[in-house]
Structures are given as structure tokens and as C-alpha cells.
Amino acid sequence: MTSMTPTVSASGLSLHYGRTRALDDVSLRLTPGVTGLLGPNGAGKTTLLRVLATAVPADRGAFTVLGHDPASARGRQEVRRRLGYLPQTPGFHPDFTAFEFVDYVAILKELADRRERHREVRRVLDEVDLGDVRGRRIKKLSGGMRQRVALAAALVGDPGFLVLDEPTVGLDPEQRMRFRELIAGAGEGRTVLLSTHQTEDVAMLCHRVIVMAAGAVRFDGTPAELTARAAGRVWNSTEKDPGAKAGWRTGTGSFRNVGDPPPGAEPAEPTLEDGYLLVLDGADTEVTA
């Protein structure tokens, strides 16, 4: 765990939707760099991101972003001035061009000087490799390009805290790789919280990973520490081991098992995904009523 001064500190965040517990006493602190947020569907990842992005207030607890507390209207305004947010389903005005849409977001981010704002919009569109199509209407862009328009909208104004909710969902491998480069670049000098189902994204991008299940934090550490959770608990066999927590046939025809190995099992090199599976093992993985 890094000892850097946290840019985002949260303590005791809880949120209920009716009788459903979406967040359960979540505390964390984030430092510059990319932090991955892993968890199964319904774990509360999106809810946590929405709370930290000030899109929805928590029932209990509090947090600060770059020293500002969104509990007051003025504080929330200050947080929003320092925030970039890419939601899971961004939504666009399809008749806008990429430039017009990012410019619209820039105006909403209070970038008032038109010349400076347009320069900034061109900068972020170039940063996400959309400089050549900035005059094209969003409805004419591919899914990957639209996702990059949304990332450009999040990046405009150079926010200190970037919240990305599953930005690589639905992208092909090439686009995902390109997106990883962009996120890695965005994480230089700013705090990025990246929600994802892709453990490879976390392994490649993140200096730190948080695993959530049932609205609570189950693990908070480095990717290496998460991987180490599976040390000695992954083995190969010719048949699926019934005692394994999880097991699957690999491309070589052997079975890879995760759990408590039987005596004499052939150990295998653990991965971050193995550690993730073991952290989730035994935890309620969905929010509970």
C-alpha cells in the first residue's frame, strides 16, 4: 500500500435502495495512479462510483476529493470542478459532432473562455485519437469511438479525479488495448478509479485493486498482493477436482483448479484472477435485501 497523501478519502459510506443494501460501510483512500475496482455484478461498484462522482448522495458516511467535502453545496461544486466521470451507459446527443458534444460538456464544466475551451476540446479529442473525426456526428461513430468521445468528455478540463465505470465493456480486443493505453496515460499525475470486470485490465493498468462484494470492500491492496492470495492454491490435474472452489479445462486439455489443493497436487502459477476468485469465495457476492 502506498504511503502517498490520499486525494480521495471515504469513510463509512452506506447506501440503501429501499431494503436493498447497495453500499455497506465502505471506507477507502485513493492516491494518484489507477486503482482498479473489481467485483461481480451487483457488488455495488457502480453505486460506489456514482457516490464518489456526486451523482447520488450516500445515506451515511462521508468523503473528500482533493480536500473538498461534497456534503455542502459549495463543496460538491468544488468536487465537480475537479472530477471527470465516465458512466457505464454514457448516452449522447446523437446529432452533435464529437467536437460539439465535448464542447457542450466543457461549457457545463464552466470553461467559459471560448478560445481556450475549444483548444482544450481539441486537445482531449487528439488525446483519445479522435482528432480526425471530431467533425463527424456521434450517430455515425462506432461504439469504440463513442466510448472515446465519452472519455474525452471526462478528461476535458484536466480533472484531478477520474471515475471510469466499465469503460472497456463491449469493445473488441484492439479497442480495449487502445483504451488501456488511454487510461494508463490518464493515470499519470491524477487519481483514476476504474471499475471493470476484466482482471487483465487491472493486472496491466493498476497500482492498486479493491474487490467489492455485497456492497462491501473484501480486499484492498496491490495486484501482486491479490495474486499472492492464490499462492499454493492453484493446481493442474487431468480431471476436474471436485474439491476445488473453481475449475475449468484449459486449452492444453488439463484442468486448472483453484481452492485447497489435495496432497500431491501439481501446483500452478497463480494469476490475479485466481486471487480474485478466492477473495470472493465465501463472500455474499450480491447486494442483499
Binding site: R29, R80, G91, E120, A150, G157
Partner: protein, 224 residues
């Protein structure tokens, strides 16, 4: 990067917000309203005063159904946590559409037969009240839900209310009195109260809540 107050960015917002308005719904409602208003003129009929009043009330409802879509914003989830406050954005939408709605209503009144036209001030008050109700309902839907496009739901609720209100409203309220009914002035006092009440409710729905239950832990937010 120079950052200025909301006042500085609002003029720049006019163009983009104008383009984000739900023009299809507004145009559909506007055109339908004008067609209905022009029906007596086209058919050469001479409707009775109560028929013209019913016609105008129906047209006001059509216009309100269009306004129910005014706060729809497909990019809502992306633009929600941005510094320009939601009330500013909503007020700008209302401000942009108000002159158009006023011109449209004036055209509707001009198209209806003058001989059977009810008092313009009172019937305009009814139209304003129904329109403001639609906007307040849309603001409430934005406040209470995460829907990017609550318009269809709001319109359905508005339509249902319009059907049920004359049937279920207490007799003493007489909101839907005829022009020659002695209860006509009192009814329009109630329309005025309804319009003001809806406007206040809509305005109160604008600001985003800071907390849910406002139960906060002392010292929370400090580094953990």
C-alpha cells in the same frame, strides 16, 4: 484553464441546450394542437361555446403532453455530476421553450372561432396551469428516478390525470366549469393556485439533494 461562475457560461449554453431540446415531441404536440384548433375553420362549423372551450382544453393538454418531454436528456448520466447546477440547465430549457409555447398558444387562439371563444385570459390561465403541471411532473421524475428519458412516463401520468381529474375531483372544486357558470371565477382562482403550486413544486425539485436522511458520521471523510 480559466474557470468562471455559472453566469459566465450560461450564454454559451444556449446554443447546445437549444439543440438538446426534444424537438420531435414538441413539434408533434405543436402541430397536432394547431390541426385540432383549425378543425372548425376547415370544416366551416360553428361550434357552441362549450365545444370551443372543450377544444381549447384538449389542445392545452396536447401542448402539455409535449412539454412532459422537455427535461428528457439522453446524456443525463454523463452530464449529471458537472458543476453547472441542474436548476440552471432546467431553467434554461424552460426559458428557451416558453416564447415558442406562447406563440403557439396565440396561434391556437386565433384559429378558434372568435364567436364562441371563451374569455382568453381565463382559458390561457388553464393552459399555463396544465403546462406548468407537466413541467413539475417532469422535474419530479428527474429528481426521483435515474431515467434519462422520463418523458413517456410523465406524459402517460399526465394523460391519466387529465382523464380522471374531471371524474374524481370534488364537485365543489369546479375546475372545469363553463364560461357561463357562476363558478367560473372561483374555478380560475383555483387554476391560479394550481399553477403557482405546480411552479413552486417544480422549482423545489430542481436542486439536487445533498444527502439522503442527512445522517452523517462525525469525523467521517477524514483519512482512514
Amino acid at each position: 484553464m480559466r474557470v468562471t461562475a455559472v453566469r459566465g457560461v450560461t450564454p454559451d449554453l444556449v446554443g447546445p441546450v437549444w439543440r438538446t431540446l426534444p424537438w420531435r415531441a414538441l413539434a408533434a404536440a405543436g402541430i397536432l394542437g394547431l390541426l385540432v384548433a383549425a378543425t372548425p375553420l376547415v370544416t366551416g362549423g360553428e361550434p357552441a361555446p362549450w365545444q370551443t372551450l372543450l377544444l381549447l382544453r384538449g389542445i392545452a393538454l396536447i401542448g402539455a403532453l409535449g412539454l412532459a418531454f422537455l427535461l428528457d436528456d439522453p446524456a443525463r448520466h454523463l452530464t449529471a455530476p458537472l458543476p453547472t447546477p441542474r436548476p440552471v440547465r432546467q431553467a434554461l430549457r424552460v426559458a428557451l421553450v416558453t416564447p415558442i409555447a406562447a406563440l403557439w398558444w396565440a396561434a391556437v387562439l386565433l384559429l378558434t372561432p372568435s364567436a364562441s371563444r371563451p374569455p382568453v385570459g381565463e382559458v390561457t390561465l388553464e393552459a399555463v396551469a396544465v403546462g406548468v403541471l407537466a413541467l413539475a411532473a417532469a422535474a419530479l421524475a428527474v429528481r426521483l428516478t435515474d431515467e434519462a428519458r422520463p418523458g413517456p412516463f410523465v406524459a402517460a401520468v399526465l394523460l391519466l390525470t387529465a382523464v380522471l381529474a374531471p371524474l374524481l375531483a370534488p364537485e365543489g372544486w369546479a375546475l372545469f366549469a363553463q364560461a357561463d357558470d357562476p363558478r367560473w371565477p372561483a374555478a380560475h382562482d383555483r387554476w391560479a393556485v394550481l399553477a403557482v403550486g405546480a411552479a413552486v413544486a417544480g422549482a423545489l425539485c430542481g436542486p439536487e439533494p445533498l444527502g439522503r436522511g442527512a445522517r452523517r458520521i462525525r469525523g467521517a471523510g477524514a483519512p482512514v
